[in-house]
């Protein structure tokens, strides 16, 4: 184990490069979460569409994503898609992560939508609201609120999963830590440092999710 003073001085010396890497990690995470929510919502709606073909498409998507390791998906998108479309690294990584997140988020949202009382839907419809309007104005706001705790969990997972982008040479936190560690023959110090950055980011994310939960809980008070 490195001494605390060594750990601390290294932490201070490298903060420039780590902050830059943290920014990239944050960008990967935010993009993959936002895109993941869009993808997740689309597949959740397909799943509850009551149209067999669409349900099947959603099932297949979730099965493929959950059934294969994320690193395999990242490599497939990186080598496969960038071979065809020549995606920038950032977008190959972000899309792979978003595609992955989307499957889990779609399951979270589907469960949350289905947990909203059927009477809510009927009340909307009985007032002359269309299906789409009822979904958007009545069901989804309630579902999203219920989905927040598991979504927050998924967001934290995607933050940490973004470290796998190191394997397609993105200079995010984990990559920087392992590179610096092996260059300086001091892996442990850098791994401990990177752990601190991840903990900071997770704390930030937990704070944001909790605040949002509180804000949305206003109707209970």
């Amino acid at each position: 184990m490195p001494s605390f003073s060594h750990f601390f001085s290294t932490l201070m010396e490298t903060k420039g490069v780590f902050l830059e890497a943290m920014l990239l990690t944050l960008e990967l995470t935010v993009v993959s979460i936002l895109l993941g929510i869009v993808i997740g919502l689309i597949f959740a709606l397909l799943k509850i569409s009551n149209i067999k073909v669409l349900e099947l498409i959603s099932d297949i998507y979730v099965y493929l994503v959950r059934g294969t390791p994320l690193i395999v998906q990242i490599f497939i998108l990186y080598f496969g898609i960038s071979g065809i479309f020549l995606l920038p690294d950032f977008w190959a990584a972000s899309l792979a992560l978003a595609f992955h997140n989307g499957a889990y988020i779609s399951e979270i949202l589907r469960g949350a939508i289905q947990s909203v009382d059927k009477g809510q839907f009927e009340a909307g419809r009985s007032l002359g609201m269309t299906k789409a309007l009822t979904l958007r104005r009545i069901i989804l706001p309630q579902a999203f609120r219920r989905a927040l705790p598991p979504l927050g969990n998924q967001f934290i997972i995607s933050l940490k999963d973004s470290s796998l982008a190191a394997f397609i040479s993105m200079n995010e936190l984990f990559n920087v830590a392992t590179t610096l560690g092996s260059n300086n023959f001091d892996e442990m110090t850098y791994l401990l440092i990177v752990a601190v950055y991840y903990l900071l980011l997770v704390a930030l994310m937990t704070f944001v999710v909790n605040r949002t939960e509180l804000k949305l809980a206003i109707s209970d008070r």
């Binding site: 009382d117 009477g119 809510q120 009927e122 009340a123 909307g124 419809r125 009985s126 007032l127 002359g128 609201m129 269309t130 309007l133 104005r137 009545i138 706001p141 309630q142 609120r145 949305l216 206003i218 109707s219 209970d220 008070r221």
Partner: protein, 247 residues
Amino acid sequence: METKEMIKINQLNKSFGDLHVLKNIDMTVYESDVVCLIGSSGSGKSTLLRCLNFLERKDNGQIIIEGKEVNPRTDDLNKIREKVGMVFQNFNLFPHKTVLENIIEAPIRVKGVEKEQAIMKAKQLLSKVGLEDKSDVYPSKLSGGQKQRVAIARALAMEPDIMLFDEPTSALDPELVGEVLTTMKALAEEGMTMVVVTHEMGFAKEVADWIVYMHDGKIIERGTPEQFFNNPKEERTREFLNATMLK
């Protein structure tokens, strides 16, 4: 003067799987009529009510709303539902919206009413149901009776021609039933056309123009409250009334 037929049902049938819940129902509701549908649980009265605003689809038969036969496949049901308000047993207020937001949602989003105008109308309706001070409160803060009165105001905000009530007091504590029934009675006195599924025999007796008694998916007997309660024709009706201790 000829009275307008608001709802006319001919030979309506509905099954859930093997369960035949509505059997050849015929019924007519005229303008300003208050019709109370009574009968034991599972008699089909709620299903019949839900067919009237197409929350349930009929299997066959005709449903004619304000003189126009409705075909659920080709007609815009949303337009029809604007005319037919519904109040549910479990209120079904939108918990993430305040009382006022609950009421103005559909007028603004469905009818395109200006927001200020919708709010003005909502406040009028709230004072009509005696809840003018609750407009900024969330439903979780209301008692059951208050929730149901908000639900009535919300349905009225669409300015429907017909109001359907599906056991509106069944989920209420006994001491809260009265306030909801009073609101409904006031509505009836204003001439609203109402179809009410209820177990409140007192209300039916006092407010209804017509009582329709259902059993096992069929209409057994119909009549004015006077005839129905004092002089029921059918043996089945007499048994039911005896069982509810209201002869």
